[in-house]
């Protein structure tokens, strides 16, 4: 018992194999496979399709994405070796850092693609909100555990919601899409935490009402909450074939590209993505590129890898050695699947344009690294569950 408990913390044990020495022992192979498969798909697609994006530097996106992937994988391994339960102890610090980093964007932020959501760091433009998704999960799950026995049920529901909504609100002021992910994370953790359905129903109604007010009532009353282009982005998917140049046109072009891909794809004949009809082909609309180039076969493969990832994350909810791990796994599973749905839905013309990247696929360092760190936390849950099975008193 003792030895197996030590096994994951000591690499000097002569009985350990190579994987275990590298810190890979006890990892969920399928989970790792899905994440590595997705980043591989991303690199392959960028290699094949983004050559014409930057004149004179056809490899730039691939090289950088590969670097981000590498950093992410190292980060994933590193995080997986930390007992995630430690994060629960650091919840207040994490939460403070989360809010502070998002807040820092207001002061020091730089604009990119229409919204100010990044911090200019040496060598790197960092988007705090990307890492913030993980931080919110780790902190909020911790707060839930804290309050599990305190106060009335309604009070607890309200507290979780409030704790989730503070960073969500802060992000909303910078980037609508990311704030939606924050909201989804909050809801998912509350669901996993066992908050009463009736409370969730009230939140759902309130949310619907809020959206209606922001999108319909306030503009109708002459008080536009969103900027015109934001409003247009959100509603254009409802009437996709509008004029050339507006958001609906671009989204429609992506849809046309995806449809044109057919069953097996168009390869280098993928004119929609090659000739710029599909916008943001290396970031938000990379799925459209995959779908046009490699057809239903390629696009379904990518979706299947996400399904695998989602399934493995869900599975960890039940395997987790403690409830904190269950909540964290729920948050990560929800964050990933929500982003996939919103992004791919946007590509397919059934969701509004929100600027949410496709996890592990869209080009972008912050998102890639942050997502790998999430996978790392999941791996930690997996490793810990194995360890816990062997040393039950740890829980």
């Amino acid at each position: 018992m003792e030895s197996s408990r030590l096994s994951r913390h000591s690499t000097r044990d002569p009985r350990l194999g190579l994987l275990e020495r590298a810190g890979l022992a006890g990892m969920d192979g399928w989970l790792a496979f899905s994440a590595l498969g997705l980043i591989a798909c991303s690199l392959f697609t960028l290699y094949e399709a983004s050559g014409e994006n930057i004149a004179g530097a056809p490899e730039q996106y691939v090289q950088r994405q590969a670097l981000y992937g590498l950093v992410g994988i190292i980060g994933m391994i590193a995080v997986s070796r930390i007992d995630y339960s430690r994060f629960r102890e650091l919840r207040v610090g994490i939460y403070t850092f989360l809010c502070a980093s998002i807040f820092a964007v207001f002061t020091f932020g730089v604009a990119a693609r229409g919204s100010t959501n990044s911090l200019e760091l040496p060598f790197f433009t960092f988007q705090p909100a990307e890492l913030g998704k993980l931080l919110l999960i780790l902190a909020l799950a911790g707060f839930v555990i804290d309050g599990a026995k305190r106060g009335s049920e309604a009070g607890r529901s309200f507290r979780y919601l409030a704790l989730g909504l503070v960073p969500t609100g802060l992000v909303l002021l910078q980037d609508l899409g990311t704030s939606l992910v924050f909201g989804a994370i909050t809801i998912a953790i509350m669901v996993a935490a066992g908050v009463r359905w009736s409370h969730l129903a009230v939140i759902g109604v309130a949310l619907t009402g809020f959206i209606a007010v922001v999108l319909v009532v306030m503009p109708a009353a002459g008080v536009p909450v969103l900027k015109e282009y934001q409003q247009e982005r959100l509603t254009s998917f409802l009437s996709p074939s509008s004029d050339i140049g507006d958001a609906g046109y671009q989204q429609n072009q992506a849809k046309v590209g995806i449809g044109a891909g057919g069953t097996t794809g168009r390869g280098d004949q993928a004119t929609q993505s090659r000739f710029g009809f599909v916008p943001e082909r290396h970031t938000d609309f990379i799925f459209a590129v995959v779908a046009e180039r490699y057809g239903f076969v390629g696009a379904a493969l990518v979706l299947s890898l996400f399904a695998l990832l989602f399934w493995r994350a869900l599975r960890l909810m039940t395997l987790s050695k403690n409830f904190y791990g269950t909540l964290v796994a729920a948050g990560i599973a929800a964050a990933v699947i929500f982003q996939v749905f919103v992004n791919v839905g946007m590509n397919l013309g059934i969701m509004p344009i929100t600027g949410i990247p496709l996890p592990l696929m869209s080009y972008g360092g912050s998102a890639i690294i942050a997502t790998f760190l999430m996978i790392g936390v999941l791996q930690s849950i997996h490793i810990e569950s194995h360890a816990a099975q062997r040393s039950p008193w740890i829980d």
């Binding site: 996993a192 979706l303 399934w311 729920a330």
Partner: protein, 623 residues
């Protein structure tokens, strides 16, 4: 709890989690299911439609105009071909919508052309108004090389502007054959609607009048299609398989450049409105056809000013655009007499030897009818009646045939009163007056028309009264007389040749109808006409007396109140076996022998390449 065996874990703690696990799992599964289904429906179910849309998206098709075929004369001289012109055009798609941006564009373009922004704006509006939607907007044609180079060097400053090579019609012979050749113009919306089966598109050039219109299908050729791959900004990425333009075929006309030149020049030298037609009597091929005053066909290659348009139609200037040879409707005077004579002979009203004592004037039904100048010709038979052009002889004949349809039928036999069917648009039908027609007209408009009286037939007998015909119709009639009775369909078209000069199609002579012409009677008429032209007493002896080829010709002097008399001349040559018929008319030209016959002589000299010797004396008869 710490010391319990944990596998499986205590149920009490697992229950809510596993239930919530199912909820989150189901939610994710539903979302993924939606994506899969949507993906499948887009790609597998409706993929073909989107593929078509994507393909349409990225290709731009540019029609490359085909050079239009040339128009040649019978010897192969070029009457019309093409020259290249650099046209400064605006892409209608690129035209900004905002008035301020438009004004800015017009100002920039105007600066290059050294024109005001208003001028450019007006031009653009006119072009958009006149041409079908999507046509390139031609701001200026024949742009100088300097401007072309400037625009090429500064292309980035003028993304809306294109300099395109366009084909423009060129007329190496100047004004020659202007009325025959016709003009071309840009396709209009009406053209597109009227010709759904032709491969026409906005910006194409179409024959609008004359030969250009009739043989447009031969001349136009097929435009090429350059298919370009473009990116989302419209930038050209690559060229896709394209088709080259197929140049139009050349059309060779039966027009003889020398004949045409002779007719036009001599008519112009008279300085009065008039027309001529020269025809091959056996084939119906038109050797020359012209109308004076004429115009420069090249003016239609550029946008016309209002003044130019007004001048083309201005009656005071003789309405130069009007083709008198086919569209003019005139009384023809004495050149009609052979038809009257044949009608009389056929109906038994006269014989070739019937003699009438011509006292210079005659009174029929209380009305006096005079010869020209009341000149008395004494006893005249048929042949003499033509030689000296006795009106009295024909007044009596007309009077005798009144109450029958004999004269009207014979006018009809010679193709009068109906269109000849010549292969250029714009001909008139003329008018063969009948009692039925005039009485009907009188009932409808009593103020303008009196009922039919014998005097109408008498006037008709000498080509006067309500009778009207075009020079072309008279040429067809004389051709029928010359060839023994075949009314031919006149044709300018001789053959179609491809770019390499190979003949693709040839004109076939077309007989419209055949006149039951007694060869003996015909010979009597021909003899009379020969005397008229080349016997010392003949009306046109002064003109044709010294011409080395024997001809049969008739002068005509038609009264056209309130205008001065209109001169006519109709001639067949050679007299023994006619090849060519020439009809000339000169409005207000006075006696036929004075103005019309000299023009006909010039044409004959050009045709036979033989000069007439001057003759003196003779010419006892005037008209």
């Amino acid at each position: 709890m710490r010391f319990e065996p944990v596998v499986p874990r205590p149920k009490a703690k697992r229950t809510p989690v596993s239930r919530r696990f199912v909820v989150i799992g189901a939610a994710g599964l539903i979302l993924l299911g939606i994506l899969f289904f949507r993906l499948w429906s887009l790609q597998v179910v409706t993929g073909d439609r989107y593929l078509a849309e994507a393909n349409q998206n990225r290709t731009r098709e540019i029609r490359v105009p085909a050079p239009r075929g040339s128009i040649l004369d019978s010897e192969g001289h070029v009457l019309v071909d093409n020259r290249m012109s650099m046209a400064m055009q605006l892409d209608p798609i690129e035209l900004p919508e905002k008035p301020i941006e438009r004004r800015d564009l017009f100002a920039r373009v105007g600066k290059v052309l050294d024109r005001s922004p208003e001028w450019v704006g007006k031009k653009v509006r006119e072009e958009i108004h006149e041409n079908p939607p999507g046509s390139p907007i031609t701001v200026a044609q024949d742009v100088s090389d300097d401007i072309v180079y400037y625009l090429q060097e500064h292309q980035s400053e003028f993304p809306e502007v294109q300099v395109n090579r366009i084909f423009v019609r060129k007329y190496p012979q100047g004004l020659l054959g202007a009325h025959v050749l016709g003009s071309v113009g840009e396709v209009t919306a009406e053209d597109l609607e009227a010709n759904p089966d032709k491969d026409l598109a906005a910006g194409d050039t179409l024959g609008k009048t004359g030969i250009e219109q009739t043989y447009d299908d031969e001349l136009r050729g097929a435009p090429g299609l350059t298919r370009l791959q473009v990116d989302s900004t419209g930038r050209i990425v690559s060229q896709l398989p394209s088709t080259l333009p197929d140049p139009g075929d050349s059309v060779r006309l039966s027009i003889d450049q020398d004949v045409q030149q002779a007719g036009e020049t001599s008519l112009q030298s008279i300085g009065l409105p008039g027309a001529f037609v020269a025809m091959d009597v056996n084939s119906g091929q038109v050797l020359g056809l012209g109308s004076n005053p004429t115009f420069d066909p090249a003016i239609f290659t550029k946008p016309l000013t209002q003044k130019q348009v007004d001048d083309l139609y201005d009656e005071d200037l003789g309405a130069p655009l009007f083709d008198r040879a086919i569209g003019g409707q005139y009384p023809v005077g004495s050149i009609f007499k052979p038809i009257t004579a044949l009608a009389g002979l056929d109906g038994g009203f006269i014989t070739p030897s019937t003699v009438v004592n011509d006292a210079g004037t005659i009174t029929i039904a209380d009305q006096e009818f005079d010869n020209a100048g009341k000149q008395a010709h004494g006893p005249v038979d048929l042949r003499r009646s033509l030689e000296v052009s006795s009106d009295v002889y024909y007044y009596l004949l007309g009077a005798d045939m009144n109450g029958t349809r004999q004269l009207q039928d014979w006018a009809g036999n010679f193709g009068l009163g109906r269109a000849t069917g010549i292969d250029i648009p714009g001909e008139s039908e003329g008018l063969v007056p009948t009692p039925k027609w005039l009485n009907q007209a009188h009932r409808e408009e009593p103020d303008y028309y009196d009922p039919w009286v014998i005097g109408q037939n008498i006037q008709f007998a000498i080509g006067q009264g309500y009778f009207q015909a075009s020079p072309l119709q008279m040429a067809v009639a004389y051709s029928a007389l010359g060839n023994g009775g075949n009314v031919m369909k006149p044709k300018l078209y001789q053959q179609t040749e491809d770019a390499a000069g190979r003949v693709k199609e040839e004109a076939e002579p077309e007989v419209v109808s055949t006149i039951p012409l007694d060869p003996a009677y015909r010979q009597d008429i021909m003899d009379g006409l020969h005397d008229a032209a080349q016997a010392p007493d003949g009306t046109s002896y002064q003109v044709f007396g010294g011409f080395p080829v024997k001809v049969a010709g008739k002068t005509g002097t038609a009264e056209r109140q309130p205008k001065a008399d209109q001169a006519w001349y109709a001639v067949l040559a050679p007299y023994e076996d006619p090849e060519i018929a020439v009809v000339v008319t000169v409005e207000e030209g006075g006696f036929g022998a004075d103005t019309a016959a000299p023009v006909a002589l010039q044409i004959m000299q050009a045709y036979f390449d033989k000069q007439a010797k001057p003759v003196s004396g003779g010419g006892g008869s005037v008209e």
